[in-house]
């Protein structure tokens, strides 16, 4: 039987679900152990982390420049790095201990409760779907710009490419996309090479030759408040790095490989993000950079090197298509898992009899993705994705406190114990609060809209949906009874 193992995603991590082994309805307790080979080392964990986040270097991060100026964006990049270091530490401990299929969704079921798990499932679905939409928007804009730069006569309707991207990738996922997920890593490697080549080609060792920071770099156009506001899109530099911890069941030594692989991944991304910022801020006026849809492709154009422009075109295209592919894969699996547990209609918990894919969940979100892609600005869809991630991180910070309280150290076997508890979770809560405020500055309506969505959905779950959920099936780990219950 085909074992469709989900490699984790851009965005927040999605459940790992072996579809071939998934029962049609809620899993009976105790859960059947899904046998995964422990073959991965720190290097694999590093590659997984860098691979899933890299698309953030090609688009989206630059809106932080628009919110606070280039210096604020760089500061936000480093502050967001601290936030994600806390996320990685906490998630390494929980994921290496909650060895149940389902990622953060399963963790919430075991540590907090069904309503929290329902919300985490929605966070995952919305974060991935909005990231998929963002990728489709960038693909359409990129192709339109490239055609125009090539001098192709006539006009190109970018919306056609957006729809085509979503439908084609949904079809691939419907048919079973294991091979293309494997290809994602190679595509991402090519995209990473594009960043490195661009950095070298701009001769950073010779300031003024290509890069003109002396004339283009400005201070803080919004003052110090701009640094705070820039934290909003600063998260985009790393959104999804915590997906590395999803490999917990497959690494040889979780206690060593997870933190080591994740932290080296963080360092790599920090360096790549700083390099990307350095090149772009030395080539473009900050006002343009702050609203560009394809900043790295534009940087390639501004070097005047036609080959580099083409390379960056393909780098951006590869990164966005690979990311959108992973997003459809992971959003559909999160929705499928919720259907299987009856948090959503059980109809969505069906597996295709031939392709072994969650085909109903895949098809369900296609019209939603198309609607947002053809009619919504990129910064808005990215904001929806970031907000869903942010809610997940907030829940994670509170979740680790409950986890340590319900099962203190020594009561269950942990793959990894993060140090200095509760400092990381308190720091994470503080930085999450700062980021909510950052989103409020300029995007307050969207923040309230997103909260309204989750509040109404929660009310619907409590008043209606929960009655279809089997209570005892929500806890499948072989742990002692939690303290206080």
């Amino acid at each position: 039987m085909q074992n469709v193992q989900v490699a984790s995603p851009p965005g927040i991590q999605a459940p790992k679900i072996s579809l071939a082994e998934a029962p049609p309805v809620a899993a009976a307790a105790p859960a059947r152990k899904i046998a995964l080979l422990r073959v991965l080392g720190p290097g694999h964990v590093w590659a997984l982390g860098v691979g899933i986040v890299l698309v953030g270097e090609f688009m989206g991060w630059n809106f932080a420049v628009g919110k606070g100026g280039p210096v604020a964006a760089l500061t936000a990049c480093w502050l967001a790095g601290i936030l994600y270091t806390c996320v990685a530490m906490i998630d390494s401990e929980i994921t290496s201990t909650v060895a149940a299929a389902g990622g953060q969704y399963a963790q919430a079921k075991h540590i907090i409760g069904p309503l929290a798990a329902f919300n985490v499932g929605l966070y995952l679905v919305m974060a991935y779907t909005m990231l998929e939409v963002s990728n489709a928007i960038v693909t359409g804009d990129l192709l339109e710009a490239f055609m125009a730069n090539l001098g192709v006569p006539g006009t190109v309707d970018k919306r056609a490419f957006m729809v085509l991207t979503i439908v084609a990738l949904a079809f691939l996922n419907y048919r079973g996309v294991l091979a293309s997920l494997t290809m994602n890593l190679l595509i991402t490697a090519a995209a990473f090479a594009a960043i490195v080549v661009l950095f070298v080609a701009t001769q950073p060792w010779a300031p003024g030759a290509v890069l003109r920071h002396d004339a283009l770099l400005v201070g803080l156009p919004y003052g110090s408040l701009g640094i705070l506001a820039a934290m909003h899109f600063g998260l985009w530099f790393y959104l999804g790095i915590e997906g590395t911890t999803q490999a917990a069941e497959e690494v040889r030594s979780p206690a060593r490989a997870l933190p080591l692989g994740t932290m080296t991944g963080m360092m790599t991304l920090l360096i790549a993000a700083t390099a990307t910022w350095y090149v772009c801020s030395g080539l473009m006026p900050w006002e343009y950079l702050g609203q560009a849809v394809t900043p790295l492709y534009d940087a390639g154009r501004l070097t005047g090197n036609r080959w580099l422009e083409v390379f960056l075109f393909f780098g951006t295209l590869f990164a966005t298509v690979a990311s959108a592919n992973g997003c459809i894969n992971d959003a559909s699996r999160a929705w499928f898992a919720m259907g299987r547990d009856r948090y959503m209609p059980a109809w969505f918990g069906a597996v295709h009899p031939i392709y072994h894919t969650p085909y109903r969940a895949i098809v369900f979100f296609v019209p939603v993705a198309i609607l947002f892609a053809v009619s919504t600005p990129l910064d808005q869809t990215i904001t929806f994705s970031i907000l869903s991630g942010l809610l997940g991180y907030t829940l994670m910070a509170l979740s680790i406190i409950l986890f340590r309280r319900k099962w203190p150290l020594g009561t269950i076997q942990r793959g990894y114990v993060h140090p200095l508890h509760p400092l990381p979770c308190l720091l994470l809560l503080l930085l999450c609060s700062v980021t909510y405020l950052a989103v409020f500055l300029g995007y307050g309506t969207q923040l309230v809209a997103m909260m309204s969505f989750y509040i109404i959905a929660s009310a619907w779950f409590v008043l209606h949906r929960y009655k279809y959920v089997r209570r005892g099936d929500q806890f499948t780990m072989h742990w002692p009874k939690p303290r206080g219950y």
Partner: protein
């Protein structure tokens, strides 16, 4: 003593379709409509530049050259440069947003804990008497 397992009702196909449709409606009304009616992302101010030049837009020679390499004339750049975020804090709106976020998490954790007690009681048994639902 373990609690008697709760047996959920079977949902009809029509009920499942209705629930699925409801989620789509919820996404449409709460997330898409604010964007459609331009209610979201409105925290900006706009400065008009009649007959803009690079100098009037505050762009030096290098900046102007980069704009032109990108195929953007001063008229179009004026719209981009003239649009700035408005960070004047509306304290009542901020307070309302904080209440919404904190209230959401408080409700989420309190109600989840209530449900979690049912889950634990059914899985492990409970020291407390089972609560009527």
């Amino acid at each position: 003593m373990k609690k008697t397992p709760y047996e959920p009702p079977k949902q009809s196909v029509a009920g499942q379709i209705f629930d699925a449709f409801l989620m789509l409606v919820l996404v449409f009304f709460t997330l898409y409509l604010p964007l459609l009616f331009k209610l979201a992302g409105g925290g900006t101010t706009t400065t008009e530049y009649p007959n803009p030049t690079w100098e009037a837009l505050g762009q030096n020679a290098v900046m102007a050259a980069q704009w032109e390499k990108l195929g953007i004339a001063p008229e179009k750049a004026a719209t981009i440069i003239g649009t700035r975020f408005d960070y004047a804090l509306n304290w009542s709106a901020l307070a309302l947003t904080v209440v919404i976020i904190v209230g959401y998490f408080v409700f989420l954790f309190r109600y989840s804990d209530r449900e979690y007690r049912d889950v634990i009681a059914e899985r492990f048994g409970s020291d407390d008497a089972p609560r009527a639902r």
